[in-house]
């Protein structure tokens, strides 16, 4: 064995030695259960009986041909995701620009925007449920504004906006941090150079800053996209999918299929489909955004 080969081998050993424990842990806690649930998705199983009956592709057939409720839930999930990706990212970016400037209260404000993010979404859901019902009623009595008497959680036309607002309010702080961090990496000299060349503030933002913080945008959009598609806790505590099934997301639908109706096999089939959808959308999104990133 030549010294070079020996060196390569020992490097490979070290590499394997360090990655193996993590690999085993992920295998046991993520990959194997995932494969098991893929298997369950081909069975009829209520989650309780000791035997699972293998039924081949029946679950997938039913899911694609004969489950209007799930596709409705899927439609709502897409609408909610689209809304929250756009609103969250634009608001967070604007606020980040504002809070990155020399505002006096910027530290207090940064903390204030971040606080909702550290509270559990379940609790946030209950808090807002109270605000929408009892809180708004008191506001109405004080101000007399008709706005407060709308049934924000009970009216099918309004409830989308209530859910959107609460989830944006909750997650804003996280994206704000990502964007502020991104903004701080933008080299001052580039901005100054643009200033000297006579670029306006708006021009500087769109032509210099924005291309340079593209990595932050990629991360944030990716994150808000997959969070939106997986939305569960805020819906669970705020509306519980109601009124009717008008705010049922696909994750809530899966939960109910598996745990409320006791159709585990069918529920896992749905979650396999959800997994594939998230995978495809995320790959597509990351690829598209990566192309726009620039090096300094």
């Amino acid at each position: 064995m030549t010294p070079l080969k020996r060196k390569q081998l020992s490097r490979a050993m070290v590499f394997t030695g360090f990655t193996l424990p993590a690999l085993v842990a992920i295998l046991i806690s993520v990959e194997i259960p995932f494969l098991m649930s893929v298997f369950s998705s081909f069975t009829k199983w209520n989650g309780l009986d000791r035997a699972q009956t293998f039924i081949g592709l029946e679950n997938y057939k039913e899911l694609i041909l004969d489950d209007l409720d799930m596709w409705k839930a899927f439609g709502f999930t897409l609408r909610l995701t689209l809304g929250s990706v756009i609103v969250t990212n634009i608001t967070a970016l604007l606020l980040a620009v504002l809070l990155d400037s020399d505002l006096k209260a910027k530290n207090t404000l940064r903390a204030a925007y971040y606080v909702p993010n550290i509270i559990s979404l379940i609790i946030i859901g209950y808090i807002w449920r109270f605000i929408f019902s009892a809180g708004f009623e008191s506001f109405y009595q004080i101000t007399g504004l008709e706005f407060f008497m709308f049934s924000w959680l009970g009216d099918v036309k309004l409830v989308y906006f209530s859910v959107l607002m609460v989830s944006v309010w909750h997650s804003l702080g996280f994206y704000l941090v990502v964007y502020i961090a991104g903004l701080q990496t933008v080299p001052r000299d580039l901005i100054e150079a643009a200033m000297i060349d006579g670029a306006s503030a708006v021009g500087r933002f769109f032509r210099v800053t924005l291309p340079l913080i593209m990595p932050s945008i990629t991360v944030s959009v990716f994150h808000s996209l997959s969070n939106g598609l997986k939305a569960f806790d805020v819906i669970f505590s705020l509306t519980n999918g109601g009124p009717g099934n008008s705010t049922t997301t696909i994750a809530l639908d899966i939960y109910r299929t598996a745990f409320v109706i006791n159709r585990f096999g069918y529920g896992t089939a749905k979650s396999v489909i959800l997994f594939l959808i998230i995978l495809i959308l995320s790959l597509f999104q990351v690829r598209m955004f990566k192309q726009r990133e620039v090096e300094v």
Binding site: L48, S133, M149, L153, G154, D155, G242, P243, F259, I261
Partner: protein, 418 residues
Amino acid sequence: MKKLLFTLLVLLLAFSPLTAAGQEEKAGPPTLNVLFYSPELAEQYNDMVAAYKAETGVTLDITVLQTDYRSVLTSRLNSGDVPDIFMSSAYADNSTYKDYVYDLTDEAFIQELEPSALQGVTVDGRVLGYPFLVQSHSFIYNKQVFEENGITTLPRTLDEFEAVAKKLQANGVQPFATGFKEFWVLPQTAWQAIANVPVENYGGYENFVSMLNTGKLKFKDIPEMSQVFDLLDLIGEYGGPKPNESDFNDQTSALATGKVAMIHQGNWAEDSIRKTNPEVELGFLVGPTGNNAETAGLMFDSNQTIRIAKDGENLEESLAWLEWLTTSEYGRNWIPGQVKQLSPIKGAAAPDSQIAESTTAMLGEGVPGYPWFYQMFPTGTEQQLGAILQGYCAGLTDRAETLDALDAAYTKIAKAAF
């Protein structure tokens, strides 16, 4: 410094087997692992646990959950972490948990229970669960509010309910708090409006449900379903400005403070109502079945069921606990005295509860008491049908669409369950 650390570590090492051994010795009487729901009864559960420990030395390690009870139970059964004692509904749940529950038929203490309470837990003559308590649901009204508004004749039909609601509304009192946000309140309200129909037209509840299960009968072919929609419309119309946002807490607090006059709820709501206003005087109203005053009744059944795990390590001790609950002085008095609901045990004392009192009095006068037949529907229908009815109340679907949706959802669940 190093020496000190070393000595400490050695000491720690030396004592750890000792403490471990100590723990082992202490494990005399077993600890029973219990999973219950109804967190409103947490105090009463704890009191019972303390009393049982004082008498027998056996500890009940009790976990109390509510909304995600079913999911937690399912995953625990699934993962092999089976509780020695757990709760479920009656009827359809008899088959849901069939692989896990102990057959209580031959236990002597079962003879001490009212036969009517055993209906919901008996399958082919075998008793698969222990009826925890007897409950009733219908409209609860605030007596003071009725009195102040000069309502002396209690309503029995849909038209009479509407007249009362109109009168209250005219006097500036909100007639109902709907509870429409809770998916379980809607089916309870709805099915009561046709509670007489299965016996009158479909040869009894079991036959009615099996016709639904096999698809021989559809909801849209039941003409009396219009009674359900009429009642929901009425409650919604007179249910304040935001009828679709009212939940259990809203119902109980609004009734307690006299903000509303009536709610559709069960006797389990009384404790919360009286905690908000101890002076409140409550009564039960019959639930209207269309405009026939004769068939308007109460929904009266034993649904909450205690199950014993058959493969548990502590099977003997779990059975001993049930026997104690049925025959001991404390056990017999626990449900009427502390839980303050009707006990399924023969000759048990009457509870200090206005609703329970009202129930007993009304049934004594010949008001029909209907079983909770919707619990015979396959597991999961409660939530699914509840959501569909909620959609109707929110104006998402009209009557015909709602009926179609109910049929579609029911057919799917029934197909998966059998």
